[in-house]
Symmetry: C2
Subunit: 155 residues, 2 copies
DNA sequence: CCCACGACTGGGCAGATTGTCCAATGATTC
DNA sequence: GAATCATTGGACAATCTGCCCAGTCGTGGG
């Protein structure tokens, strides 16, 4: 659960320049290569680092519109079947169950506003979804990031 | 803007097993190594692949609570100064300006519900923020993903 | 119909990196 | 003090990377 400063620096370094290898990391951080490897193994084992997958920019794929859609779900049946069906829609990038007046919140992307309507229709068609409400993301002044959190956790 | 099937398979392969190198990719996909390298270079140049940074799990760092906070912002001054200040809060993982009754939506994490109150207070204290409303993510049946989108785009 | 162009292939090369061991040295805990 | 754990610095073979090249193939233009 805790991360020390070396871990934080290591993660930040990898985040800044993912292409550098373990050896280069050890040089930059002025520690032995084995230490870096051990740290990375431990971080991965603890689940802090879940992977190194390529980061994809949906807008570069033509999906320029991002929206957040909240759903109200019919009580009978629960969220699970709805979530399962939402998962089948590629444009649904993530889905959460939430507190408050609505039941789920999902982030969707689309190629245009008109295309967003198509995606929303797909969602509305999901069995158990009663109604939806959506807001469009106009701008993203703070894109998804975890580095500040890592630095804070490594204090 | 378009991606062909080989690109999609390549990205999916890398997403599934990020540790394998270019050479191994070429073997798996039954193409020449140079092709894989060229494809990856192009995808990166086109902005489709923005990086290979380590994926961090906030909950593994002790940030078990995720919430979505919507903000109403004082008109004078606009969003920019608010976004700048939000960016200084490590627990704010992302922030968007949005359509609808509210002005911004941000995703925040905290160590506990009590800690979430602290984070929200930080947000409320930001100059220009008039009021906030938050919902807590109880479960995340569909975690953030882009692979289905990539596969769909590579059709 | 032919040609140029871009993409892919298959190969080779030197240099760097990886995975994996090891013994020795702190640092911390009991 | 004794044991434990992390780190260091070094070694090794095997592998991979970055880079280059010549030849082939398919498409679109001339």
């Amino acid at each position: 659960m805790t991360i020390d400063q070396l871990d934080a620096r290591l993660i930040s370094l990898l985040a800044a320049e993912p292409r550098i290898g373990v050896l280069e990391c050890s040089r930059r951080l002025a520690v032995a290569r084995g230490t870096v490897q051990a740290r990375l193994d431990r971080l991965a084992a603890r689940g802090v680092i879940t992977g190194y997958g390529p980061d994809i920019d949906p807008s570069a794929l033509g999906y320029d519109v991002t929206a957040f859609v909240t759903l109200q779900i019919r009580q009978v049946g629960g969220h699970v079947p709805v979530a399962d069906r939402l998962a089948l829609i590629p444009e649904v990038l993530e889905a959460h169950t939430i507190t408050g007046g609505d039941d789920m919140l999902c982030r969707v992307v689309a190629r245009s506003n008109a295309d967003l309507q198509r995606v929303i229709d797909l969602i509305v068609d999901v069995q158990g979804v009663m109604r939806t409400s959506s807001v469009i993301a106009l701008d993203t002044p703070v894109p998804y990031r975890t580095m500040p959190l890592v630095s804070a956790a490594g204090a």
